[in-house]
Symmetry: C2
Subunit: 320 residues, 2 copies
């Protein structure tokens, strides 16, 4: 039996999750630490390296680990740096891969979390055997990992694939967290869906809807999904609106790289057909004729709790 | 000396240009026929094959030709078909490579004209040494050839890279030749510029402009460029509008593949700074912060007709 393993690390704004993963994509051991506990990244990495060390003191030792893959916001594959990540405690440019490699003695590769999800999908999930696909992550933000000819698209600077920040509304567009207006993310992230709900509630004060049972400032995309599933008309319309915009955007993405499939990943994709049906209709309606009925729309096949670790770990197999 | 040659063929909406190319990238013989003369593609190909035959009756004979590379609108590299090309006289799916191979007895490979231009630019032009770049062709239509990790992006079906048919105006967009509305091509092709000029003339009947000296139905982008260069205010504004839209679109393209450079090619790029200055300003203004001041905007370094023939011919060397 193959005694090789990799470690996957998912650096999130709140928690850092890590696990040892085997060739078949099984997480054989895992754990987590708080990301925000240390203002100095060196102290954080000391704690992380110690935690990894403890994980490797059983039957699986450091000698069995081929590499460590890290998924982190604003992670740059070429440099191994995390650069100006707004949701992490460490400011500026952090040479994360280099520091972790020094502290563990194991080769480290790093990329952003959406790219990690794409590699995970290609290695263990819905994109196995595909050479051209796009993973769209619908979470707090909208991220993307693009694969062309079997390779992640990192671009000239290592930061390619920010499809959440392509412009879907050029006129009177919503303000986005990036400082611009009209970004796809401002409409189709989980927070975007909640924003749409608040807009609808505000614009239609006389329309009955279950959404009014929830304090407006607490309203989340999950509430909207639950109400839609219970038959609430306004909530269904909110998902139709969200799906329609995603479908419009996907039609343009197809004109770029013409993937075999676009794979949905992340919290909002749990809405299932509520979001998928309008995306499919809108995408097909908006596609250039030569692309119609050619592109699969799929959900991620990775278990959500494991996906981030699996995605990051997949990078570990590719080192050298 | 190496007695091997290839033939490059550029199928344009108006003319089909062809040439015999040697190992060093020199076009040693060339010619052209009218693309639109024959409604039946078989008659067109008979004329083309005859013209190629005449070209090969000197010191370079058919035995010296290793292959024929074709660049054509909606050309599919994988199948060798031209499929539903709106600007060509032949409708539906045309097995162009197969038919030309039957008529000439020489192996034929085919891709779209913009991909051929990108290969030409990578081999002989402004993209030498680059692994990530996009060529945008501004001619009768707007085409694109995208290179990622040193490879042409053909996509899953062979039709990737139709950036002229991404949507730049989602509300009240112009009708495009593809049957949809708001495509970049409807605004920023040579015909799009002429359309803008006619719109401006119609909307501002009292504004003095040199453009009124030309019969409105004869007005071309070349006329607008000449008037702008002579100081005509409306004409300068037309190029600013065109460049602004291209810059908006380019900012989204950068979020996709983050190229080292975007290279302008084709008739409209002859307008020089008239078009480049507003593109650059608009692109930088619209870019996501992490991409600002990173992407070069360049003009093609190849003579227009040569680039298309050379790019297409490069495919000829690769056959078998």
């Amino acid at each position: 039996m193959d005694q090789s393993y990799v470690i996957g690390i998912d650096v999130g704004g709140t928690n850092t999750k890590y696990g040892i993963v085997d060739r078949r994509g099984q997480i054989v051991k895992s754990g987590s630490i708080k990301t925000g506990k240390h203002e100095d990244v060196n102290n954080y990495l000391d704690e992380l390296a110690e935690a990894l060390g403890e994980m490797m003191d059983g039957t699986i030792t450091k000698d069995h680990i081929l590499g460590i893959g890290v998924g982190a916001p604003n992670g740059n594959y070429y440099t191994g740096n995390i650069e100006f990540a707004p949701n992490l405690p460490w400011k500026g440019v952090i040479p994360f891969a280099q520091l972790l490699e020094e502290k563990t003695g194991i080769p480290v590769a790093l990329t952003n979390d959406a790219n990690a999800a794409a590699i995970g999908e290609m290695t263990y999930g819905a994109a196995r055997g595909m050479k051209d696909f796009i993973v769209i992550t619908l979470g707090t933000g909208v991220g993307s990992g693009i694969v062309v000819n079997g390779q992640l698209v990192y671009g000239h600077d290592g930061f390619a694939g920010e499809l959440g920040h392509t412009i879907i509304r050029r006129t009177n567009g919503r303000i986005c967290g990036c400082g611009r207006t009209g970004c796809l993310e401002a409409y189709t992230s989980a927070t975007g869906v909640a924003r749409t709900a608040r807009e609808y509630l505000d614009m239609r004060p006389n329309e009955k809807t279950m959404l009014r049972n929830i304090p407006i400032e607490d309203l989340t995309s999950k509430d909207v999904a639950e109400a839609a599933n219970a038959g609430d008309e306004m909530s269904k319309e909110i998902f139709e609106f969200t799906g329609r915009l995603l479908g419009e955007a996907f039609a343009d993405f197809v004109a770029f790289s013409t993937p075999e499939a676009i794979i949905l990943f992340g919290g909002l994709s749990r809405a299932g057909d509520l979001i998928m049906k309008p995306i499919r209709e809108s995408m097909e309606q908006n596609l250039l004729k030569i692309y119609k009925n050619k592109v699969k729309l799929l959900f991620s096949e990775l278990k959500e709790s494991d996906a981030a670790i699996l995605g990051a770990s997949a990078l570990g197999w590719e080192i050298r």
